[in-house]
Amino acid sequence: MTVKLDPGHASIEDVMRKLNLSDGQIDRDFGVVNIDPRRQLYTIMVDAGTAERLSGRPDVDGPHANPKIAPFGPVR
C-alpha cells in the first residue's frame, strides 16, 4: 500500500503509529520504501486483512498487486 509521509517521520514505527498497526500486520523485512521523494510517497507491505481495513483511508492508496516476476530467458 502507498502512504504519504513526512520524510523525517518515515520509519516503520512512524507508519505503525500513523495507521494504527500492530506488529505482525506490517512486513518489517519489506520496510518503508520511498518510491517518490518529490511527492513524499512510501510503500509498505501488509497482510490482506490489514489492507482491507486500510483501503478507503484518504491518506492511503491500495491495495496494489504483488505479482510473480520471472526472468525472460532462456526461451522455453
Binding site: 502507498t2 523485512d29 519489506f30 520496510g31 520504501v33 520511498n34 518510491i35 517518490d36 521523494p37 518529490r38 510517497l41 510503500t43 507491505m45 492508496d61 491500495g62 491495495p63 496494489h64 498487486a65 504483488n66 505479482p67 510473480k68 516476476i69 520471472a70 526472468p71 525472460f72 530467458g73 532462456p74 526461451v75 522455453r76
Partner: protein, 447 residues
C-alpha cells in the same frame, strides 16, 4: 487451395499483363470450379528453349535461352480451386491452360527458441563497434551497472575470461539468501552480466539478486514484484547520493510478468500491468527522474514463437514497467539484424510506443546455458545496457539526461521493419557508430 494457372498467349491476356490489370477470363471455362483472383494481373513467363534441340527445356543445367516475345511466352493468373476439384483439374482444363500449379504461402524463417545460435559474442562485439567505443575511451569505466536478476557469479565470469569489478557493498540481496553478491549460483543473472560486458568490460557491476527471493515455494528463478520494489528503493537512494567514484548508474532488467493471471485485472486500482500509479511503476519513474538509465527487456511473447509460459494470448504482452514511458524497452534481433520470433511486439500498455529499440540476442556468448545460446530479450537488454554504460563513460547523466540519451538512440537507430517507428523493432537497432558520430558532432566527446 490457392493455385497458379498457366495460360497460352492471347492478345487480351498479353495486354493485361503489360498494363498491369486483371485479364478478362472466363474462369469456369478454363478450369471447372476455378475462381480467378481479380486483383492479380497476369505475369508473363518467358518460355525456356534449350540450345540443343530435342532436350528437356526444364533441365536448367544445360544451356538455355528464354523467349520473352509475348507471343512465345505463357502467362500466370492466380486463383482458388476447391480442394476436391484439384485432382481432376489437369484432366478437365481448357486446352489454352498448359499448367496448374500450387501457390504456397511463403514467409521468412525467424529465429526461435531452440534454434541454433546466430553468431558469437565476437560477432556481436563487432556489430557493437566495440573497438570504436574503446578508441573513444568508452568502456564503462566509472559507471555503475546494476544487474537486477538472479545474481552474478564472478568466478564463472573469470573462467570465461572476464574480470569485471563488482561493488558488493552497494549490491543487494533479499533477506534469507545465503550467498553473497558476486557469489550467487551461476544462472541467468551471470549471463546478463556477461552480455553487458560486451560493450562495457570496465563497468562496475552492482549485483541485485531480486529473483533469488525466498518468498515463494517454486524453484529459484522467480520472485515477487515487492522484492523489486525494495531493490529499487535501494537504487533510488544510491542514485540520489551517487558516490563521486561513479559517473552514472545504468540498470538492466531482463525479467517481467509472463501472465496477467499473476496480477489484478486492468481497471482494478491495484493493477500493475496497465497502472502508472502502481508503486513499482512510480519508483521506476523516480529512479529515471533522478538520473539513472533504466532498461527493461520487451519480453519473449512474440507472436511467431512465444515462450510457452506466455499467458497473454492475443492481448498486449509488453506491460508494467517493461512498457514504462521512462524506460528503454529492448526488443531482440539476431546477428543478421532479423527480429527473433519470440521478441514481444507492441503496442505496450503503459506506453504504446514499445519496444523502443532493438539489440542483439541468440548468440554463443556466456555459455551459462550451454549448449543453448544467450537468448531471449534477456540477452538483448544487457547488451544494450552495456552500450549505454559505455556512452556514460564520456557522457554522464549530469550532462546528457536519460531522456536526451534515449532521443539520441532513437534518432541514430538503424531503421528496420516499417519506415520509422514500428511495433516490431521500435525505432530500429542500436547503431553504435551513429551514436558515437552524433555525440562527436555535438562536441560531447571533445577531450
Amino acid at each position: 487451395m490457392r493455385v497458379l494457372v498457366q495460360h497460352v498467349f492471347t492478345s487480351e491476356i498479353a495486354a493485361a499483363a503489360e498494363n498491369g490489370r486483371p485479364a478478362p477470363l472466363e474462369a469456369e471455362v478454363l478450369v471447372p470450379g476455378l475462381q480467378v483472383d481479380s486483383d492479380y494481373a497476369p505475369v508473363l513467363v518467358p518460355s525456356p528453349k534449350p540450345v540443343e534441340p530435342g532436350t528437356n527445356p526444364y533441365a536448367y543445367g544445360q544451356q538455355i535461352t528464354f523467349q520473352t516475345d509475348p507471343e512465345q511466352a505463357t502467362y500466370l493468373v492466380r486463383g482458388e480451386l476447391a480442394d476436391h476439384l484439384t485432382p481432376s483439374a489437369h484432366v478437365k482444363r481448357h486446352p489454352d491452360v498448359v499448367g496448374i500449379f500450387s501457390d504456397p504461402v511463403i514467409e521468412s524463417t525467424l529465429t526461435c527458441g531452440g534454434d541454433p545460435a546466430v553468431g558469437t559474442a565476437a560477432d556481436i562485439a563487432q556489430r557493437l563497434a566495440v573497438d570504436q567505443l574503446a578508441a573513444e575511451g568508452m568502456d564503462g569505466t566509472g559507471v555503475a551497472l546494476a544487474v537486477v536478476d538472479t545474481g552474478v557469479n564472478l568466478a564463472y565470469l573469470e573462467r570465461m575470461g572476464r574480470h569485471p569489478a563488482l561493488d558488493a557493498q552497494r549490491s543487494w540481496k533479499p533477506r534469507g539468501v545465503a550467498t553473497q553478491p558476486g557469489e550467487h549460483p551461476n544462472n541467468h543473472g551471470t549471463m546478463c552480466a556477461f552480455d553487458a560486458g560486451l560493450a562495457s568490460p570496465a563497468a562496475t557491476l552492482l549485483d541485485y539478486a531480486v529473483l533469488l527471493s525466498q518468498n515463494h515455494t517454486t524453484p529459484v528463478m522467480q520472485g515477487l514484484l515487492s522484492d523489486a520494489i525494495v531493490a529499487y528503493g535501494r537504487l533510488l537512494q544510491l542514485q540520489r547520493a551517487l558516490p563521486a567514484s561513479y559517473k552514472s548508474l545504468v540498470v538492466t532488467n531482463s525479467w517481467g510478468m509472463f501472465s496477467p493471471q499473476w496480477d489484478f485485472p486492468p481497471g482494478n486500482p491495484g493493477n500493475y500491468s496497465d497502472n502508472p500509479a502502481h508503486p513499482f511503476n512510480v519508483i521506476v519513474a523516480s529512479l529515471v527522474a533522478a538520473g539513472a538509465d533504466v532498461l527493461f527487456a520487451a519480453g519473449n511473447c512474440g507472436p511467431e514463437c512465444p515462450d510457452r509460459r506466455c499467458g497473454f494470448g492475443t492481448t498486449r504482452s509488453i506491460c508494467g514497467a517493461n512498457s514504462h514511458p521512462s524506460v528503454l524497452c529492448i526488443g531482440g534481433v539476431d546477428a543478421h539484424d532479423a527480429r527473433v520470433g519470440y521478441s514481444s511486439v507492441g503496442p505496450g500498455r503503459l506506453s504504446a510506443y514499445k519496444p523502443d529499440v532493438s539489440s542483439y540476442t541468440h548468440f554463443t556468448g556466456s555459455g551459462v546455458f550451454s549448449p543453448e545460446p544467450d537468448s531471449g530479450t534477456s540477452a538483448a537488454c544487457p547488451v544494450a545496457a552495456g552500450v549505454l554504460a559505455a556512452v556514460r563513460t564520456r557522457c554522464p547523466a549530469s550532462r546528457i539526461s536519460p531522456v536526451q540519451l534515449k532521443s539520441i538512440l532513437f534518432k541514430t537507430a538503424r531503421d528496420l521493419g516499417a519506415v520509422g517507428f514500428d511495433y516490431e523493432y521500435g525505432w530500429g537497432v542500436i547503431d553504435v557508430p551513429s551514436v558515437v558520430n552524433q555525440l562527436s558532432a555535438a562536441g560531447e566527446l571533445a577531450a
